[in-house]
């Protein structure tokens, strides 16, 4: 992963896994991992998306009806 990535947090593992499957199909470079220390999440899993386009991610999440907690820029 490069430094240019964002972290999407979810309420449930099922949503995180679903988002991973869909994001991969959409051609995004993603990694499902434990939530970094400075963030917190209900399910403990987050999706890191490299070279991200926030609008595109929001569009995908909305279109597929995936509930998420937040999208956080890597800092």
């Amino acid at each position: 992963m490069t430094d240019d990535y964002c972290v999407v947090l979810f309420h449930s593992t099922s949503s995180a896994i679903r988002a991973e499957a869909i994001a991969k199909r959409e051609g995004l470079k993603v990694k499902l991992t434990s939530v970094p220390r400075h963030l917190s999440s209900d399910c403990g899993l987050c999706l890191c998306i490299e070279n991200y386009d926030k609008e595109k991610i929001l569009e995908i999440l909305k279109r597929c009806g995936i509930e998420f907690e937040s999208i956080n820029q890597n800092s």
């Binding site: 896994i17 679903r18 939530v35 899993l45």
Partner: protein, 387 residues
């Protein structure tokens, strides 16, 4: 050996099912959704893949609306006990399995009003018989897609349309059809679809589930059980989102790995290929049995209108004796008695003695059906001659 008890549990499974289960046991093994390590994530991916395959088979848009349960019975209990309240009215058919009838009879004792639409002696339902039972307080219509006794297919789509026109929820038990007959929850107007994992979907025992349609408000469907879900762990109350709201406790992940592989196999073969094969065998089986003068064959005698479950009796001998002799003398496995469906046997006139049921799967062959007919014919001759 010829296994014809697939309506209870399918015995022959695609090799992919075994491979997926062994792979889970050897290489994954962890708890899905409870930890952030790679094996836990992999277990969660396997579960999600099984949800996706199930969603594809039944045309469900959001795989997270698939709730996994231990079996169809648990899924039916979740739906019935979760929705129905005292003074609600529920309609069902007279061909139901006890997985539907027993929860309904218990709910009846708790103040739920129950009406049963009469089916024909061949096991078929006229949708008008459902329509005329609808009342102001009808909250739910529940029925099986096909009888586990006669295999007769019930008019799900027509009843679903009636339910929708009256704004009533529609619950379908697809234990006998899921995996061997096309089902589309949108086309068939199904709000809640129950499936059994270990029959025609080729999973192992301990798998099944409930699909929650878009019209179902989860606030009005109480969970059957509450507990740990791996999500919202800081709260001591049950999460309100799908599927976690209905999936407390660790799931049967190894079983669901197998179920996912079974459904993937069905999708690859094509449901129409499976249906065509089973209809061909059912046609041979019905006609072969009818040609034996001593037999009585139940149901509609039309493979187009039924699954591969065929029930029969032989004059002058009890069903259990037929079954024992088929097993011991011919190595043919079948199921005898009331098949957990006293209502269905009353409808077709075989209560309380029951009948012998032969039930086909995609893995049965024309040769097996020919040999079965030959064996039953020989057995009927022996019985006639007191042998």
């Amino acid at each position: 050996m010829i296994y014809l008890d697939n309506a209870a549990t399918s015995f022959q499974k695609p090799k992919e099912v075994e491979t997926a289960m062994v792979k889970f046991l050897r290489e994954v093994g962890a708890n899905p959704g409870r930890s952030g390590h790679r094996l836990s994530i992999e277990a969660a991916r396997i579960l999600y893949a099984a949800r996706e395959s199930t969603a594809e088979l039944f045309n469900v848009k959001d795989p997270l609306r698939i709730v996994f349960c231990l079996n169809a019975t648990e899924a039916i209990n979740l739906a019935l006990c979760g929705i129905l309240r005292p003074n609600d009215h529920v309609i069902t058919s007279s061909m139901e399995h006890n997985s539907v009838m027993r929860p309904l009879r218990r709910l009846e004792q708790q103040g739920v009003e129950l009406s049963i639409a009469q089916c024909s002696p061949e096991g078929f339902l006229d949708p008008e018989n459902i329509k005329k039972l609808i009342k102001k307080n009808t909250a739910l219509i529940v029925m099986n897609h096909a009888s586990n006794v006669t295999g007769s297919i019930l008019p799900v789509s027509q009843v679903g349309k009636i339910a929708r026109e009256h704004n009533i929820l529609f619950l379908v038990d697809s234990a006998q059809t899921g995996g061997c007959y096309p089902i589309d929850i949108n086309r068939d107007f199904i709000d809640l679809l129950v499936f059994s994992g270990h029959k025609n979907l080729f999973g192992p025992q301990g798998t099944g589930g409930l699909i929650i349609g878009d019209r179902v408000d989860t606030k009005k469907l109480s969970p059957l059980k509450t507990g740990g879900t791996g999500s919202r762990s800081e709260h001591e109350v049950q999460p309100d989102f799908l599927p976690d709201i209905y999936e407390s406790g660790t799931l049967n992940t190894i079983g669901l790995a197998g179920l996912g592989a079974g459904i993937r196999f069905i999708l690859e073969q094509g449901i129409n290929t499976i249906r065509a094969h089973e209809m061909k065998l059912t046609h041979s089986l019905i006609n072969g049995l009818k040609d034996i003068p001593e037999t009585i064959v139940y149901g509609g005698h039309d493979p187009e209108k039924q699954t591969g479950a065929v029930s029969f009796n032989i004059n002058g001998i009890s069903p259990s004796e037929i079954s024992t002799r088929l097993d011991e003398e011919y190595e043919i496995m079948c199921r005898v008695g009331l098949h957990c469906s006293p209502a269905a046997h009353k409808t077709i006139g075989t209560f309380p003695d029951g009948a012998v049921r032969l039930s086909i799967s995609y893995f049965n062959t024309p040769e097996e059906i020919s040999l079965t007919i030959k064996s039953i014919s020989e057995l009927a001759d022996k019985i006639k001659n007191n042998l």
